[in-house]
Point group: C3
Chain length 216, copies 3
């Protein structure tokens, strides 16, 4: 049975690596936006950090858990690496946009699944878990946009949070028919990634509410 324990171990490492990739990608997106707004190094680091850990922090406060980043300095360190990365490779970042898009989407998917898991572990219903998964994935970007004094992008463009919600619903459905929780999580994460890629590829967005007629 030793190989099974090893497999378990490998899976944990795998999840951790994915989580750091997500943190790195989220931090990069924050730092680049901050740099475009002429923030200094400290400001850019903070924006990168809140983008990466903001959603999970709100989730943990709502679930009455210790904020996850207070238990492990890795998130701080990866944000620092992201800052150095942006400074050093500034010139080549635009060419890497597609790579960042993939990283960011992996992060979104993984953050969503982690949020769902943590909420279910606390004994909440599935609809709460789906909301918390979405907050974990998408709220960091909202805080980032508030900090740089912009209307949050995800309220106006693109399928982003909706991908988290779809991933959450698929988690719920699969959970009913599949026994192995790991497989459920992988399917859920893949559905987030797929939804986002399809939406961006085909420029699918949500409709907007038409303006109220001006009766003046």
């Amino acid at each position: 049975m030793e190989w099974l324990t090893n497999l378990q171990f490998d899976q944990e490492i795998f999840t951790e690596i994915l989580e750091y990739i997500g943190t790195f990608a989220f931090a990069i997106s924050g730092i680049r936006l901050a740099a475009s707004k002429d923030f200094d190094l400290f400001g850019a680091y903070v924006i990168g950090l809140v983008t990466a850990i903001g959603g999970g922090t709100i989730r943990d406060l709502c679930l009455d858990l210790k904020p996850f980043w207070m238990l492990n300095p890795s998130y701080m360190i990866w944000t620092g690496i992201a800052l150095i990365f942006v400074i050093v490779f500034r010139k080549y970042l635009i060419k890497l946009n597609n790579t960042f898009f993939i990283f960011d989407t992996i992060g979104l998917a993984l953050f969503t699944v982690v949020g769902i898991e943590k909420t279910l572990d606390c004994g909440y219903s599935f609809w709460v878990a789906i909301i918390m998964g979405t907050i974990t994935g998408a709220a960091g970007g909202i805080i980032r946009d508030i900090f740089i004094n912009q209307i949050p992008l995800i309220f106006r463009k693109e399928i982003y949070a909706i991908a988290c919600i779809i991933g959450g619903i698929i988690y719920y459905l699969c959970d009913k028919i599949i026994d192995d929780i790991t497989i459920v999580q992988i399917i859920s994460a893949l559905s987030v990634v797929l939804t986002r890629i399809i939406a961006v590829q085909y420029k699918i967005g949500l409709p907007h509410i038409k303006e109220e007629p001006n009766t003046k």
Copy 2:
């Protein structure tokens, strides 16, 4: 004594109905503002939701309680109904402005009283309860305005949060002389409604601080 139990039951239902009316009215105000800023359906829903539940969530986090909306999906559902309502009746909303004003004011009054109650139940002093009542009633609108990137309206115009504070002080005074808590709550809620209606009717606002003389 059966009729008394029934009365009690009826009062709970009554409070619940009022709370959903408040949620609905708060959500409508958020969704309409979001629509005027060209948010998509998801963005409008989120703005409606934070307007309705934002204040109560901050209160519950400060009181170390589970956020109220995580225990009952009704708030999500009523926000969804509000979204559909705005989409369908878009053309007639302006004509309903007075109705919404009444609903919104009822919501404000009820949220304030609920906030005071919950805080007193946690064993805090009355001054904390009045602040928490005000946060429950008014903070959702502040978050809404931050999300749509505007200076919060209630910092510059109208008597709004002040109505909550007056309602809280009247709660405190009545609590000293009236035994029946239900009557205290009704008087407090009515005083919030009355303050707001009088202030809007007679365009009463708070004074502003005069500018500092420019010595340059």
Copy 3:
């Protein structure tokens, strides 16, 4: 030994006085900014309050403690005194800018040390304590700037939060070699004050990230 107890007592009073000076200075800075944006009295009070207590509130929520201002009405009262002060002495405030700078810096230093202490008391590592000290000192100003719809000043100019971080690191280093915690705290607070004064005096700021080349 009575004189020792008296000394202890005096130190507590001294800390308390410093804390109220800090609250007063932070509130003044918020109220003046709010007044310059044409907020009404309520708005100005709220901005003053969140500037003074915002950072400590986030810290307490993260540490799962009761928000400090809910246990003692002094912070509300000092913010009220600050509001009256700004109204009455409006004409002379600009001349007092240097005094406010000193008060504000003392507040920053003390808030940082209080934040570090509280976090260590909760059993967290030092790196968490340094972050919480920085949040206690600097987050109120960030919330203030978000409320008045400006990009937070500390992300673009001046050494401010960095002074808290330096004070935190010096706290950590001194804690290893000095037994008396009071002396450690005084050195840490002084290092915050000194860093800030030197930075402002010599206009030292952090570098900004250069723009990404536009490849369009």
